[in-house]
């Protein structure tokens, strides 16, 4: 019970800090909308083109916007040695991981709450379906989980803004491909059953990443 209370406390702390500054969410939102506009001009997203390109455009936008937020999330803990404050406390290191990863996933989710309806409205692509929302949730959780783990590694390097995307994007490929493919099937009108292979891949990826993070996060954080 204490474990979950601490996860919750870390999550609430991050959300409270973000509420005061709004710096992460605003950067992620502005980036996402700009990316959407650029893609729409570059790819002429109409009709069949829009349905074919939508999954890739959506997940590219989510991935890059997410990376912005991930980097900032761990950098916030480096200010004034706050990560030392967490490490000094009798807190299981995995609670720190879960608290930070959930916070990152929520921020990405908030961006998607704006992005999905906007995309659907602008380009006539049916993204607001239960199947698409499920895939979006699973893909976001996986990306946030692997991103939180790697951001914790990158934050201690000098070139952390560059290191994170270099490490994250290759490792996130399974989740991104699965998300794109599953979204593609659903956007073309296919039932969720036809996308189950990709959905299962997403679930397995998420579980593997969480397991790896649980085993390694403590070592990543400590000197």
């Amino acid at each position: 019970m204490r474990f979950f209370l601490k996860v919750w406390a870390i999550l609430v702390k991050d959300m409270a800090a973000e509420l005061h500054t709004r710096e992460m969410i605003s950067a992620m939102l502005v980036f996402s909308i700009l990316a959407l506009l650029i893609f729409s001009f570059a790819l002429d997203l109409r009709g069949a083109t829009a349905r074919a390109a939508a999954p890739g455009v959506l997940w590219a936008t989510v991935a890059f916007a997410g990376t912005l937020g991930l980097s900032r999330s761990l950098a916030r803990e480096q200010q004034a040695g706050c990560m030392d404050g967490l490490l000094l406390a009798p807190v299981d290191r995995s609670a720190i991981f879960f608290g930070k990863a959930l916070g990152n996933a929520i921020l990405m989710g908030l961006v998607e709450v704006v992005l999905l309806p906007l995309f659907s409205a602008l380009f006539g692509v049916p993204l607001l379906r239960p199947g698409v929302l499920l895939v979006t949730a699973l893909g976001t959780l996986g990306y946030a989980a692997v991103g939180t783990l790697l951001a914790a590694i990158a934050v201690n390097t000098r070139a952390r803004e560059v290191m994170l995307p270099i490490m994250l994007l290759p490792l996130a490929i399974p989740a991104l491909i699965a998300s794109v493919r599953a979204t593609g099937v659903l956007v073309e009108g296919g039932a969720l059953g036809y996308a189950m292979g990709w959905v299962r891949l997403l679930v397995v990826y998420d579980l593997v990443i969480v397991a790896v993070a649980l085993l390694t996060f403590g070592y990543v954080l400590e000197e």
Binding site: R2, L5, K6, A9, K13, A16, A17, E18, H20, T21, R76, Q79, A80, G81, C82, D84, G85, L86, L87, L88, A89, P90, V91, D92, E222, E223
Partner: protein
């Protein structure tokens, strides 16, 4: 209460601690002095479980941090150059957060009491980044004693403190010792170090070079020895 045996710590080729042996009894107030680069901060960070020694053994409050890290951390308070405070949270939010991390009962009352004692009750809802440096350090002090630690490790805690804050710190330290707390404090300020601690340990180039009760120290001779080490 604090035992460090044959502590070695190296960062690559650089040796920060070269066989440090130090013990601090329950209720003792020990001042650790030494020139820059002597290894004071490294030693404190090892004792605070923030970094692992390359070799050697540590015991805090009877516990081996390598085996009982969580329980050991519950008994340690740490105050350093960095405040460990979130700039984007208010003073009160910071303390309440750490109270949850330490599973404190009656957290609200404890937070209220500490904010009063460090003179920040009127600024409790202000974001930390709007507070002055002295206020930061006072709030950091409150954070470090929030969970009533048995052992308090302080790394140059008087740096940047205004006189009011310095007095608040001294008062809190005296109170903590009166309650049986154990304190290890590092400082560059020899005069203050000799005034505060009952025992003084001098560290130089990663080794303990002097460990004496304060009453047996001649300040002039001690000061000369310190200057000689600092300029080597």
């Amino acid at each position: 209460m604090i035992q460090a045996r044959d502590l070695f710590k190296s960062f690559g080729p650089r040796v920060a601690l070269a066989g440090v042996n130090i013990s601090v009894e329950t209720g003792e107030f020990v001042t650790l002095v030494g020139p820059n680069g002597a290894g004071k901060t490294t030693l404190l960070r090892i004792l605070a479980t923030l970094t692992r020694p390359t070799s050697g053994a540590v015991q805090i409050a009877g516990l081996d941090p390598a085996r009982a890290g969580s329980e050991a951390r519950r008994r340690i308070g740490f105050l350093s150059h960095q405040t460990l405070l979130y700039d984007d949270l208010s003073a009160e939010q910071n303390l309440r957060f750490y109270a949850r991390m330490y599973d404190l009962d009656a957290a609200a009352a404890r937070v209220d009491d500490l904010l009063e004692r460090v003179g920040l009750a009127a600024r409790r809802e202000d974001l930390v980044r709007t507070l002055s440096r002295g206020m930061h350090q006072r709030l950091a002090l409150a954070r470090s004693v929030l969970h009533r630690p048995q052992v308090l490790l302080l790394d140059e805690p008087y740096t940047g403190l205004d006189p009011q804050a310095a007095q608040a710190l001294t008062d809190l330290l005296v109170e903590l010792v009166g309650e049986g707390g154990t304190i290890l404090l590092t400082t560059h300020n020899l005069e203050r170090g000799l005034a505060l601690g009952r025992r003084v340990v001098m560290l130089a180039r990663g080794r303990v070079v002097c460990d004496k009760p304060r009453d047996s120290i001649d300040p002039a001779t001690f000061g000369e020895a310190y200057q000689a080490l600092a300029t080597k």
